[in-house]
C-alpha cells in the first residue's frame, strides 16, 4: 500500500522536475519571470488528451503536446519582448488566465468544467504503461532526457547568450545579437518541456479539467525553482524531490486528506517566503540578480 503510494509520489516528482527544469531555462537562465508556464502545461495536457481520445497513438500525442505548447511559447514571446521584471510577470500571468479561461469556456472542445475523462494510458510498441511502476519508469526516462537536453542547452555557447541576456540585455544587443530571437527560443523550448509534462500528467491521471491548471498549481513549480536556486539544474531536481515529499509525513501522522491538500499549498507558499527572505539565492543557486 505504502509502496504504491510512494510510486505515485515519485511520478509526481518526475512531472514536477520536468516542469521546474523547463521553467528554469526561461526564468533562471534567461531571466524571464514567466508566470504563464502553467498555461504551457495546460496546453500540452489538453492537446495530448484530445488527440488520444480521438484515437491517435501516444507518441504522436506526446510530441504534439510539446510542439503545440512550444508554438504558444513563441507566440507569447512576441508581445512580451519589450517587457521586463514585474511587467513581464504580469503579462505572462494574464496569458495563463486567458488559457485557463479558454479551457473552461470552450466547452465544445474541452467540455469545460466537466473535464476530459477516459484518457488512455500511454502505450509504445504495443506495450501499455498501465501499472504505476511502468509509468514511473517512463516518467523517469523522459525526465532524465529532458534534464540532459536542457543542461546541454544551458552549458552551450547558446546558453551563455541566454545568461548574458539575463544579466544585461542591452549589452547583448550592442554586441550585435538578436535578443528577441534568443528569448523566443528560450520561451519556446521551456514551453515544449512544460507541454510534454502536461501530456504525461494527462495520461497518468487519465482525467483532466481546468482546475489542474490554475495559478495555484504554479506555486509549487516556482517554489522548486527558487528554492533549488536560479540557474541551478541540480538544485532544481533536488528541490523537486524534497518539496513533493516534504508534506507527506502530515498524512502519516494522521491528518486527513482534506487538510493535507491545503496544508501542502501553505507549506510551499511559506517556504517560498522564508527562502526569499533568508536565502534568496536558493540552496544551490549562484547567480545574483541586480
Amino acid at each position: 500500500m505504502i509502496s504504491a503510494y510512494f510510486i505515485h509520489l515519485l511520478i509526481l516528482v518526475g512531472i514536477y522536475a520536468i516542469l521546474a527544469v523547463a521553467l528554469q531555462l526561461a526564468m533562471g537562465f534567461t531571466g524571464l519571470l514567466n508566470l504563464g508556464h502553467i498555461a504551457f502545461y495546460c496546453v500540452g495536457a489538453y492537446i495530448s488528451a484530445l488527440l488520444a481520445l480521438a484515437g491517435w497513438p501516444f507518441w504522436f500525442c506526446f510530441l504534439s503536446a510539446g510542439i503545440g505548447a512550444m508554438l504558444f511559447g513563441f507566440l507569447l514571446a512576441i508581445p512580451t519582448n519589450k517587457l521586463k521584471g514585474d511587467y513581464l510577470a504580469l503579462a505572462t500571468l494574464g496569458f495563463s488566465f486567458v488559457i485557463y479561461a479558454v479551457a473552461l469556456n470552450w466547452t465544445g472542445l474541452t467540455r469545460g468544467p466537466l473535464g476530459l475523462p477516459g484518457i488512455p494510458k500511454p502505450s509504445l510498441f504495443g506495450f501499455v504503461f498501465s501499472n504505476n511502476l511502468s509509468f514511473l519508469i517512463l516518467t523517469f526516462i523522459i525526465a532524465l532526457t529532458s534534464y540532459f537536453i536542457i543542461k546541454q542547452i544551458a552549458s552551450s555557447p547558446f546558453g551563455k547568450v541566454l545568461e548574458a541576456i539575463r544579466d544585461n540585455e542591452l549589452a547583448v544587443r550592442v554586441l550585435g545579437k538578436n535578443t528577441f530571437k534568443m528569448k523566443s527560443y528560450a520561451l519556446g523550448i521551456s514551453a515544449f518541456f512544460a507541454g510534454i509534462a502536461g501530456s504525461l500528467y494527462a495520461h497518468y491521471i487519465t482525467f483532466i479539467d481546468p482546475s489542474s491548471f490554475t495559478l495555484l498549481q504554479l506555486i509549487p513549480v516556482i517554489a522548486i525553482v527558487i528554492i533549488g536556486g536560479l540557474a541551478s539544474l541540480r538544485g532544481t531536481v533536488i528541490a523537486a524531490v524534497v518539496l513533493v515529499l516534504l508534506p507527506e509525513p502530515l498524512r502519516f501522522i494522521g491528518f486527513p486528506s482534506s487538510i493535507v491538500g491545503p496544508a501542502r499549498q501553505m507549506i510551499y507558499a511559506l517556504l517560498l517566503i522564508l527562502i526569499l527572505i533568508y536565502k534568496p539565492k536558493g540552496f544551490y543557486g549562484k547567480i545574483e540578480l541586480e
Partner: protein, 247 residues
C-alpha cells in the same frame, strides 16, 4: 567614417540634442566633451540605435544607419562602451569576452554540435589571452565578472568593446572613476589601437586626458556643438572656457 547631420532629440520639453552635425575622420581619436547634461551620452545612444532621433541623419561609411536596429548597427561595425558598467555579472571574464567574439552562438544548432571547430576555438582563446595580457588581467580569466573591482570591470568592459568586431569604436567615459595608473594604461591601449588604424570617438570629462589623447575635439553645450578643432585650438577657445566656467 561617421557623419551626423542636423541631429535633434527632445525628451519632453528638454532639447538634449539640438541640431548637431559633425564628422569623424578615419584613423583618428576624437574626443566629445562638454559639461554635465550637454547631450554627449544621448548622441551615443542615437548613433547606436538605442534612441531614435526626432530628425536628422547618421551615416556610417556612406551608409545611412539612422533607422537601423541596435543589433544591425553593431553588426555594421560600431562597438560601444557604456558610461555605466554593463558586464554580464554572473559569467566569467572569459565568457564575457567570448560573447563579443563569437557570432555563431545565437544559432540554436550550436547547442548540439558537440565539438566546436577546434581551429575557431583556438583562435578565440588566443585573442582573449592576448587581450587579457594587454590589460594585465590574465589571472582573472576564470573569475566571475561581479567579483572584480570597479577598475577591473572597466578594463574588461573595454576589452569586450574592443574584441567585438568593429571598424568604429565609441567609448563613453572610459576612464572616469578609474585610478590614475590605470588611466595611463587605458590611454596607451587606445593610442595603440589608433596606430593600428582604428577610429575612436570617446566622451571624456577630464579635459587633460581628452586633450592629450585626441586628434580632434568636439565641444558640446546644451545639445549644440559650440566648438570643433585640434586640442590646442580648443584649449584657448573663449567660448569653450565660458561654457565650462559658467557651469
Amino acid at each position: 567614417m561617421l557623419k551626423i547631420e542636423d541631429l535633434n532629440k527632445f525628451f519632453g520639453g528638454i532639447k538634449a540634442v539640438d541640431g548637431c552635425s559633425f564628422e569623424i575622420k578615419e584613423k583618428t581619436i576624437t574626443a566629445l566633451i562638454g559639461p554635465n547634461g550637454s547631450g554627449k551620452t544621448t548622441i551615443f545612444n542615437l548613433i547606436s540605435g538605442i534612441l531614435r532621433p526626432d530628425s536628422g541623419k547618421i551615416m556610417l561609411g556612406g551608409k545611412d544607419i539612422t533607422d537601423k536596429s541596435i543589433e544591425d548597427i553593431s553588426n555594421l561595425g560600431i562597438s560601444r562602451l557604456f558610461q555605466q558598467t554593463r558586464l554580464f555579472n554572473n559569467l566569467t571574464v572569459r565568457e564575457n569576452l567570448l560573447l563579443a567574439l563569437d557570432n555563431e552562438d545565437t544559432k540554436f544548432w550550436s547547442v548540439f554540435v558537440l565539438r566546436a571547430s577546434a581551429d575557431k576555438k583556438n583562435k578565440f582563446e588566443k585573442k582573449i589571452q592576448e587581450m587579457l595580457e594587454l590589460v594585465g588581467l590574465e589571472e582573472f580569466a576564470d573569475k566571475l565578472a561581479r567579483d572584480l573591482s570597479y577598475g577591473q570591470k572597466r578594463l574588461i568592459e573595454l576589452s569586450r568593446a574592443i574584441l567585438n568586431p568593429h571598424n568604429f569604436l565609441m567609448l563613453d567615459e572610459p576612464v572616469s572613476g578609474v585610478a590614475p595608473r590605470l588611466r595611463e594604461k587605458i590611454k596607451e591601449i587606445l593610442i595603440g589601437l589608433k596606430e593600428k588604424g582604428e577610429t575612436i570617438l570617446l566622451i571624456e570629462h577630464d579635459m587633460n586626458f581628452a586633450f592629450k589623447i585626441s586628434d580632434d575635439v568636439i565641444v558640446l553645450e546644451k545639445g549644440r556643438v559650440i566648438a570643433e578643432g585640434k586640442p590646442d585650438e580648443i584649449k584657448n577657445n573663449p567660448r569653450v572656457l565660458e561654457a565650462y566656467l559658467g557651469n
